[in-house]
Amino acid sequence: MIFVTIGSMFPFDRLIQRMDEWAQAHPEAELLAQIGDGAYAPTHMPWVRRLDQVDFARKVAEADLVVAHAGMGSVITASQFRKPIVMLPRLKEWDEHTTDHQIATANWLRDKPGVYIADADADLGPRIAEALAAGGPAEPTFAAEAPDEFIARLRSCIFGQS
């Protein structure tokens, strides 16, 4: 199953529309799309508007591949379940987010194992094919918790020691 998610805030119709086209071209593929408040309602793949955190994690766990915006919640959750993820960054120019920070996110994540960046709509198909062929990364891309040094520093700060 390919789980398509636009995250928890703004709509991202461009991703949903491109993935609906992809679904039409790949009738054998099983998909589920989480589309938020998007105006575009897919006709070639099942969709839901929202999933709570528990169901979101469950869908990621069930998926062979996650296709998402370039959001940290999506990539960290995909890593946690060792799922490959294809990410299409939201653009400010098209009112998909308030800033272009997802381009920066895509850029620093692009060489991580299991992460496939689609810089443009046309890259989605090829990145999906690559990711499906490669499967999940052997190890989670990120450790389960923040590094010990960061935890320790926050902890002593909270205790009022720094």
Binding site: V54, I76, H101, N107, F150
Partner: protein, 154 residues
């Protein structure tokens, strides 16, 4: 603050990636009296044994929702009276920090999302005024006088 008891902590974050980042620093609160707040009621499942409050998911585009949010934050803060409030963003948590600092004289910690790799988020930049500890997760964004860099959740 009573030096003999562990501080009371409110850990508060918006949904999606903000909460996911908060989950990664939870070991920092081990053994403390900590309560949590985020936007999704189901996130309570991530913090068994701790008080959990859901607040309204308000973006910068939804100015009207802020009135509801402020009332919810006030209720959480008055009920819990935390000594320390820590957040991984976003905008609603800026208000939580401001209120906690002003009305409870709490110590406040802002950790800007790791998603802001090129500049502080807009809320993160404003957090300078309400955060006792003002952090970026990117070393190259740290400046003398803040924001500081102590590390990252990844």
């Amino acid at each position: 603050m009573d030096k003999h008891r562990p501080p009371k902590v409110l850990a508060i974050a918006s949904g999606g990636g903000h909460w996911v980042q908060m989950r990664r620093i939870m070991p920092a609160f081990e053994g403390m009296d900590v309560c949590y707040a985020s936007v999704d009621p189901s996130s309570a499942a991530d913090v068994p044994g701790h008080a959990y409050y859901a607040f309204r998911d308000v973006s910068r585009r939804d100015r009207l929702g802020f009135a509801v949010l402020i009332a919810q934050l006030a209720r959480i803060l008055l009920r819990e009276r935390p000594d320390v409030v820590i957040t991984t963003g976003s905008a609603p948590c800026l208000f939580a920090l401001g209120m906690a600092k002003t009305f409870l004289r709490a110590r406040t910690i802002w950790i800007d999302s790791i998603a802001n790799a090129e500049r502080m988020s807009s809320s993160g930049a404003q957090a300078r005024r309400v955060a006792d500890v003002w952090l970026t997760q990117w070393e190259h964004l740290a400046r003398p006088g803040g924001p500081d860099y102590w590390g990252a959740v990844l």
